[in-house]
Symmetry: C2
Subunit: 382 residues, 2 copies
DNA sequence: TTGAAAGCGGTACCAT
DNA sequence: ATGGTACCGCTTTCAA
């Protein structure tokens, strides 16, 4: 056990007396001291303290630790060593306050913003605006209704001109955007969310593992059907990779793990309720023994309506996505058996937070793919 | 639409030019401005600004807004009016920094700290220590192995002497503790977590709705069994209210909603794996057609081991609690079908955060019962 | 290359 | 009852 060079005010359980004791390094994790029955955040070392120890001014320490240049390499070395020994962590409040003059600016661009799902994501984004706003950052949000690469390109430029230090983007799947982002990532950190864009140099992606979530639904469908029956899979638009991956994951898992279940040919509803409605009606005409429907995209409402009209809502099991008010309603009234969530709130908050942390402290996320939880909801836990 | 008295620097999408425009109150929500395609945190008003507008000093404004007395009632009134008009919100960074001299102290007491589940809660508590520590607060944590009312009483006193401004506690279910907390809540805010103690004056409770989670499991069991079969329910210790409520909720829901399922008499394993193991072996001897087991307490490992030894793990469906490493392992190898989580991390972080918010800004939680999510996990989404 | 000093937004203490 | 001021920890600018 190595001693820390500093000691801390600390209270021991045994004698119940405040006393200065030595804290050993091996029981300190992320700044929290773990003792028997006792854990607390340790006293923090400040810039001024380090300056004092190094015999220089605060300004010099600041320049050294933040590699701002204009400091003797030897001195810088010494300062860094001292900072490390004392596990110096800049005080967030102090830093945030000082940054109030010219706040860190973070851009957020969201496409398809008017869909029910993205409205949930926007709640998370608003929360990030608010909370990061209180911590010396400014979050600039731009939304696009629908999918429009041209407009997204314009918004990227607009935000860059405003001087953002980082960009969070739900990218339109388009080569132009890919090109653009490749150039942007050379200058500032970029986090993709909701849908990824690998190979453009983004720092990380926040969103769901779509294939895994499709497989998860296959497992649930198997349970619902007791291992046998006919299942209809409805997906959205062939160009929407997320939706396609969900249905692929679902079908793949059914085929390999649950051979007792028969898959009808994949149908596409192009995210339209009316088309989904029609597909369900048509299918039930030719397959009166249909036992399950998996909807990987939008169109859930149309599916439920069709089943309701045909009086089949308790004979046909339904699994679909997104914890929107309409879907919640349909789970509660029994039309939907399982509803799958993808932690929309986290998809809204995390990207901005990640960029903030990176720009504020230099800390990168531990993983490149930050997969949001696959939330399983029934009428009992919504 | 009422105009705000202030206007803000703002960028319009249409002309792409930075300009001063009027922001209307009805599009401002929690300090975030919602415009067409644009949302951002608004410029904040400071104490100094208000002092200037009111023609007084910052000190006076501070005293007036925080009701510290020593200020002319008329002047105080005027200051408050101005603050309200400008939607003054104290800057968190500034406040946190000023508080660094004598930080807000928050006490946390956790019982049964060495159980696998509580270890997960402790991760959340550590996170709170760390993050609140960076925001001008100090979190003092005390843990108890097992359940010991006497020790908990001592720890409450210890923390009170240390000058905590709020207490988060997982209370031992004991009249002494109830008495003690009733006295504590008269002085400082108290948040209970994991297990509640109604009637002691606590500000709120953070934890699961145990009955609802039991019902949720009933719904899942019904799906697993396709509406029929014999089910064994194993609970822990009769004195543990949470575990009893889970089994009650489960059995109640099965009886009322799923009459096709037969419930065997409730068994108790006193949270011991060996006893759970024996119960399973015994039951399978007299009921070879057993189709499901619901474990509402600890003992899950014993159950899985018994089923494995008897080669019944894929004939008998198992639902149990807590996302511990051992249970995760058993879900992955197929011994457990559904694992139910109760957001242990939130149970660790939220109580301290709630107390911090209250002591820092005066904001109380919106609800008295903050129920953590009922998380449904299968081998596909762990 | 280095230091000194002026903030950032609050709080607290001391004069008046 | 009120104003002035030092200070919390860090950044930034300006002198030296």
């Amino acid at each position: 056990m190595r001693r820390l060079t500093a000691s801390f005010w600390f209270r021991t359980l045994a004698n119940s007396v405040i006393s200065v004791i030595i804290v050993y390094k091996n029981c300190v994790c992320r700044g929290v001291c773990h003792g028997t029955g006792v854990r607390m955040k340790l006293m923090a070392v400040t810039l001024a303290k380090i300056a004092e120890l190094a015999g220089v001014s605060r300004g010099t320490v600041d320049r050294a630790l933040n590699n701002r240049g204009r400091v003797d390499p030897q001195v810088a070395e010494r300062i860094k060593k001292i900072a490390k020994e004392h596990d110096y962590q800049p005080n967030r409040a102090g830093k945030a306050l000082a940054l109030a003059k010219n706040p860190i600016k973070i851009g957020v661009i969201l496409q398809s913003a008017s869909t029910a799902f993205m409205r949930l994501v926007l709640e998370g984004i608003d929360y990030a605006c608010e909370s990061l706003g209180e911590h010396g950052a400014q979050v600039l949000v731009r939304t696009i209704d629908g999918i429009d690469a041209e407009q997204e390109l314009r918004l990227i430029d607009e935000l860059l001109e405003l001087g953002i230090g980082g960009l969070a983007i739900a990218p339109v799947n388009d080569p132009q955007i890919h090109d653009k982002l490749t150039r942007v990532t050379a200058r500032i950190p970029v986090v993709t969310f909701n849908s990824d864009m690998p190979g453009c140099g983004r720092m990380c992606f926040v969103g769901q593992d779509t294939t895994a979530s499709g497989r998860c639904c296959a497992g649930l469908m198997n349970m619902l059907l007791g291992g046998k029956g006919k299942v209809l899979v409805i997906t959205g638009h062939p160009s929407n990779l997320s939706h396609m991956c969900r249905s692929e994951g679902f079908m793949e898992e059914i085929r390999t793990a649950f051979p007792g279940i028969e898959l009808l040919p994949l149908e596409k509803c192009y995210d339209r309720d009316e088309i989904a409605h029609e597909i369900v009606c048509d299918t039930l005409r030719s397959h009166t023994d249909l036992s399950g429907i998996f909807v990987s995209a939008n169109g859930q409402v149309g599916v439920c309506r069709a089943l309701g009209e045909l009086g089949m809502d308790d004979r046909v099991r339904v699994i679909c996505y997104d914890i929107t008010p309409q879907n919640v309603e349909n789970v509660k009234n029994g039309a939907i058996d399982f509803l799958i969530g993808q932690d929309s709130f986290a998809q809204g908050t995390r990207p901005a937070q990640i960029l903030y942390d990176y720009l504020f402290t230099g800390a990168k996320p531990k993983k490149e793919l930050l997969l949001t939880a696959i939330e399983i909801k029934t009428r009992y836990n919504l």
